[in-house]
Structure formats: C-alpha cells, structure tokens
C-alpha cells in the first residue's frame, strides 16, 4: 500500500505512549524531576535526527511485531523500566487509541491534523528544553514538506494502509467503554451526527440540471443522520487551531488507564495469520529503527541515578495477574535483539542477509535488505 505511512504511524503511536506514561508517572507519584527526565529522554530519542531521516524514507509499513520492538526500546530509552505485562498493556492502549483516531477522522487528510495534535502536546512536555523543541519543530517542517502537497487520493491510500495495519484489533479499553466510544464487543461507535468533514455538504439534497447547466429541480430526501457543516478547517501551520479533537490527550490524573483484555476474539485465524506466514528474515527482522534506538546513548547524569519501574496497572499483583491471564492470541512476540555493539553479531547477520538475497528481486522490495546492509557497513 502507501509507502508514506510509517512516519504517521510512528509519531501518533509515540504521542499516545507519552500521554499514557505521563499519566502513570503522575498517578504513581514519581518525583517530578525523574518524570521529566523520562519524558525528555524518550522524546529526545524519538526525534533524533538520524532516526527521523530513516523514518521518513519511503518504505512499507513494518509488521506489528517489528513495530512493537521499536516501542519496547523507546520506552526503555531512559531510567524507567516496564515489565512485560505493563509493556503489553501500554502497547494495546496506544494502538487502540490511534486506531480509533484514524477510523473517526472525517477526511483522510485529517490524520495529519491528528499528528499535529500529538506534536503540539509533545512540545508541551518539553517546554524547558530548547534543543528538543527544535528537533520537534524540524519534524513538523518535514511533515509539512512531505504531506502538505499530497492529494486527497494519496491520503485515502494512507488511511487504507493504516486501517489494514489495525485490522482485527479489538482490545476493549475502559476509558473508551466509559465514554461510549467503544461497544462492549470491542467495536468503535461511529456516530451519525455532528460536524461533517471539511468540504462535504449536509446530505439530503438532489439537484437536477439541464443541458445548459441550469438547475431545473431541487428535491430533498431524508438521509437518516443529523449532521452540521464543519465550522472551519483545522490549521496545518506550525501553530494554529487544529479544530479536530482527535489526537489530543484524553487521560488525566483522575481518569485511570485501564484495559479489559478481550478474551474470546472472533478471528483467531486472521489474527495469527501474520505470525505463521513464513518469513526468512523473521528472527533477524532488524528493524532498522529499533537498532538505531538501541545504538543511541542517553547521557546519564553524574552520580547514582537509580532507575525505577513503572506499572501500568494499579498494583503489582494486578500486573502479575495480567501477565498470567493474557489471552494467547494477544501475545506480542517481542524480538529481543541486542543489536548494539557486538561487531561479531553484526557480521554474522550481514552474512545471513547475504544468503537470503534473491537475485532477481525488483528494485523496490530489495530496499529493506539493502538499507540494512548499508547501515551495517557503516558501523
């Protein structure tokens, strides 16, 4: 599908992750300076220049497994630690939130406004760090350059690509259930009222024209919904009123972050499709982004700085329980690749990559493997 989707997926999921971490850090009463450090470190890693360069290259979406590895590493880019169960829950919440936002975007292009909402909020987290602020602004610029000129048709393709990525994910999220934006069967509520997409007229009118283009008849019909025209278009500038609320922070200290694990899910066959599909690079699916994150050095402050563990659940017992009872179909097989300094491992991987190279691959699909080899040569 569209090869321009990964940056939007990564930035929006990252934004949701920060909302959740911020809420949990406060709920768990982590001291302010530590909490700020964690968020600063993660944001700084996310917007690292080399990382962004790689992210913005036109490429196919990563698999769900590969993308999950990226966020595992990102969440551990600082002094904070998360147990597997908490990491699973964090990822569930992130993905369901962004799935919801994509689904409810009035126009396909509005996914860019959702991204800007996330970036605006991220800038709020790092107000005191001008260097990181600058990095975020640079990314903003890049987004505008690349996406600003895309047609409605290209955004439609991006939207379809994102929805295919999120297909069959039906984790129930308490905050969504409470707000009645998700049904108890895990499906999102699609309202038939409210503001229309920018550029769409209120349904209900049939106009007939003659050969000269003059309107000769106007008939109304009952369309079944209750819509109003959008008051104004959201701003795509660096600063501006986005109008759209999707992508803004829905968590606060008083709205705890909970999930319901959807036990019996309807399409086991469909969900596990990805993990059983043969893929010669599965184990070594280097995940260039994950490797880049792993290779980044976070400056540790002088003196002992003990790390701490963040819990996405209310108690440690709950976290343990969640790990034990997680339905099998929702396992994320996290690839733990210590792809940082081991030169020998890199050479071995390069050799394996070489063995899998198919001779008459068309130019396009060879790009992933070629990039990896090139990166390894540079190390």
């Amino acid at each position: 599908m569209s090869v321009r989707t990964l940056p939007l997926l990564f930035l929006n999921l990252g934004g949701e992750m920060l909302y959740i971490l911020d809420q949990r850090l406060r709920a768990q009463n982590i001291p302010g300076d530590k909490a700020r450090k964690v968020l600063n470190d993660i944001i700084s890693t996310m917007f690292n220049q080399k990382f962004m360069e790689e992210l913005f290259k036109p490429q196919e979406l990563y698999s769900k497994k590969a993308l999950r590895t990226v966020y595992d590493r990102l969440a551990h880019a600082s002094i904070m630690r998360l147990n597997q169960a908490s990491m699973d829950k964090l990822y569930d919440l992130m993905t369901m939130a962004f799935k919801y936002q994509v689904l409810l975007c009035p126009r396909p292009k509005d996914v860019l406004l959702v991204t800007f909402n996330h970036l605006d909020a991220i800038k709020g987290f790092i107000q005191d760090s001008p260097t990181i602020l600058h990095q975020v602004d640079e990314t903003f610029q890049q987004l505008t350059e690349i996406y600003g000129g895309l047609s409605a048709g290209e955004f439609q393709l991006i939207r379809q690509t994102l929805l295919i990525f999120f297909q069959d994910l039906h984790v129930r999220v308490s905050i969504f259930l409470k707000d009645k934006v998700q049904n108890s069967n895990g499906r999102f509520v699609l309202p038939v009222s409210g503001p229309l997409p920018w550029g769409t007229k209120v349904p209900g009118l049939i106009r007939t024209f003659n050969d000269k283009g003059e309107e000769v008849r106007k008939v109304e019909f009952k369309h079944g919904g209750s819509y109003v025209t959008a008051p104004k278009e959201g701003s795509f500038e660096l600063y501006g009123d986005r109008v759209l609320k999707l992508g803004t922070n829905m968590y606060s200290v008083n709205r705890p972050v909970e999930t319901h694990m959807s036990g019996a899910s309807e399409n086991l066959a469909a969900q596990t499709q990805e993990s059983i599909a043969p893929n010669p690079l599965a184990k070594e699916e280097l995940n260039l982004l994950a490797r880049l994150i792993g290779g980044m050095e976070i400056k540790k402050p002088s003196g002992p700085e003990p790390g701490f563990r963040l819990n996405l659940f209310t108690t440690d017992e709950e976290e343990e329980q969640a790990a034990l009872t997680r339905p099998e179909e929702l396992f994320y097989e996290v690839i733990n690749i210590q792809a940082t300094q081991d030169q020998q491992t890199n050479e071995e991987l390069a050799r394996i990559m070489g063995e899998f190279e198919i001779s008459d691959q068309p130019r396009r699909s060879a790009s992933k493997g070629d990039d990896l080899l090139a990166m390894m040569d540079e190390l």
Binding site: S2, G153, N279
Partner: protein, 343 residues
C-alpha cells in the same frame, strides 16, 4: 422497507478498501457467489437462497518477490459472452481464475517500470467489456485483455492512456443496457465504458478492437472511488459523499446528490429496473431510482430507501438480484456479509 436477513459468516474480516464486495448471481442454479478481500487473501463463498452458506474458498495473492505478503486490492467476477472469469488484483499483479476460483488461468505480473520510490504499485479496477477484461493500474493506465471463449490463451491486447493518477474503478454498460439504449444522434459513438481515478477524473470510452477515448469529465479535488454506467448515464460516487450523474456521450452533469456524510466506497446497479445503490464510510446505504424523462430525455433520480448499518464503516455493497430487491454489505473489520431484502 428492507429487513435484515441472516448474515453470512466470513473466515476473515473485510479490508478497508473500496468496492470490497463482488456478487455473482446465478439464478438458474439458485446460487449467489460472494467475493470479499481480507488482506493478503480473498474469500469466495457461495450461498443458497436465505443466505445458507454452501462452499467457500480462499485465494492468496501470488507472492512474487518481496519480503512481506502482497495485499489484494480487489476481487471481481467478469461476466463475458461465453464464460465467467474471476479476477483478483494485487500489489504484484493480476490473477484470473475460472469462476469458482478453482483454477488460475492467467497471471500478469506488474512492471514497476518507472514508478518513483514514493509511488505504491498495484492494479485496481476491474470490468468486463464484451470479450475483453479491463484492469486499471497505479499509473493510470488501463490494461485491456482479450479473453478467448475458453482456455487460458489470454492476451494483453491494449494499454489505454487516459489517467495520470491511480485508477479506482471501471464500469461498463450491462448487456441489457446496450439493447435498450435510447437512440443516440451518432450511433457510431456509443460510450460503453467509463474509468475513474484518485483525482476524480472520469474517462469515457468506446470499446472495440481498439478502444477509443470519447470524452473526459474532470474531477474537483476528491477521488472517485466507484463508478457505474447505465443506459448512457454515468453514476459516480466521490470522496466528499456526493453522487453525480453525467450524460456519458457528452460529459454533461445532470444530477448532483449530496448523498453521504463521508467518502463513498461502493456503487452498484440493478440494470433491469434502473436502481442505483450507494454505500459510504458514514455507515449508510442508499437506494435510488434512475429514470429518463420522456421530454428532454435527461436523467432523473428519486431516493427510495436509506439503511443505516450501525457502527460499520461500509467498504462494499451489491445488489443480490436483478430486480434490486435485496442487497449485501461488507464492513471494515467485520467478519460477515450483511444481507437485506425488501419486505
């Protein structure tokens, strides 16, 4: 008034594509075939009246080279004078099967050619025109395949240039329509195919040993994901929720309907009775009656029925019988085909 009938379960949910439902009506055998794209696979199933599922089959996109399994963009039955073929388009190529999907009779690999690195490469848009099958491409080109009465000797006969952006859908005059066509001034200029693309541009063609471009109808900033052709009238559904009807031979706009609150994803025709079905991401399906005024001769539209499919982003919709008294719907993430019939 329509009522919900029994749904037909699917092995995999429907993907968020447009025109994601194909129906082959076989009234002689009291069977209906359904085709839905899940992602890297498509599901075919046949059902008896009352929606009782009988047989099902899954087809995969032919791999070709590449790391990830390719995605299917569309599955569609093509009814030709002497045979029915099932066509499947993907990001790798075009696969043609016998109508039950049992045997692949033809494979055409896409040539990425001079696609830039930022362009997605795929085939999309499938229609039968006489003994040809036309398939659209990401580049805007339309491939015309010459189909023999039987056997696998399928030949690419022409490549039509008319579009600059990816083709979304292709429509041809249903066989009956050609016979009932009102007399046109210039009988030699019968518009019998229309192609649409992501920019909203429509190209109107005359089929033949060589296809001829008759006229172009420009877009207005939104894609046209779905298009139909009936008795010289083009019905086009757009990304802003509008349905527009044009005179095919001249490209003149005759009707503009503010039909939906979100992008339209599918249109279908019941040609015997002039019924049009529109479905969109706003969860609604609408049925319209098309007719030609005796004086003046231009087309008129009347709204017949609106159906809300709650909390479902519809991605495909088709009539299930020639009189348009029943229809089926697929939705993103939904692992069933919803059926409605009039009371």
């Amino acid at each position: 008034m329509f009522r919900r009938e029994r749904s037909i379960p699917l092995r995999g949910s429907a993907a968020a594509l447009c025109n994601n439902l194909s129906v082959l009506q076989l009234p002689v055998r009291s069977l209906t075939h359904f085709g839905v794209v899940h992602g890297p696979s498509a599901q075919l199933l046949s059902a008896a009246p009352e929606g009782v599922p009988l047989a099902q089959r899954q087809l995969q996109a032919k791999e070709g080279a590449g790391v990830s399994p390719p995605l299917i963009t569309q599955v569609h039955w093509c009814v030709l004078p002497f045979r029915v073929l099932l066509v499947l388009t993907s990001h790798r190529g075009i696969q043609m099967y016998e109508s039950d999907g049992s045997v692949m009779v033809y494979w055409h690999a896409l040539d990425a050619g001079d696609a830039s690195l930022v362009q997605a490469v795929f085939a999309r848009g499938i229609a039968a025109s006489g003994h040809f099958i036309c398939v659209g491409m990401w580049s805007g080109r339309v491939l015309v395949f010459d189909i023999p009465a039987k056997g696998p000797n399928i030949v690419l006969s022409e490549e039509l240039a008319g579009h600059q952006t990816p083709v979304t859908d292709i429509a041809t005059e249903p066989a009956q329509g050609q016979l009932d066509c009102k007399p046109l001034e210039n009988r030699d200029c019968v518009a019998d195919m229309v192609t649409a693309d992501d920019s909203g541009l429509l190209c109107v063609w005359q089929s033949g040993p060589e296809f001829k471009l008759l006229t172009r109808i420009p877009g207005f900033g939104v894609p046209c994901p779905s298009v139909q052709l009936w008795q010289g009238t083009i019905a086009a559904g757009y990304g802003n929720g509008q349905v527009r009807l044009y005179e095919a031979s001249t490209g003149t706009l005759h009707v503009q309907i503010d039909a939906h609150a979100r992008a339209i994803c599918a249109l279908d025709l019941a040609p015997e009775v002039g019924k049009l079905l529109s479905a969109a991401e706003d969860t609604f399906v609408h049925i319209w009656k098309l007719s030609r005024r005796p004086e003046g001769g231009y087309i008129e539209v009347e709204h017949c029925h609106g159906e809300c499919v709650p909390d479902t982003q519809v991605c495909g919709a088709r009539f299930c019988d020639p009189s348009g008294s029943s229809f089926a719907v697929t939705g993103y993430d939904l692992a069933e085909i919803l059926r409605f019939s009039s009371m």
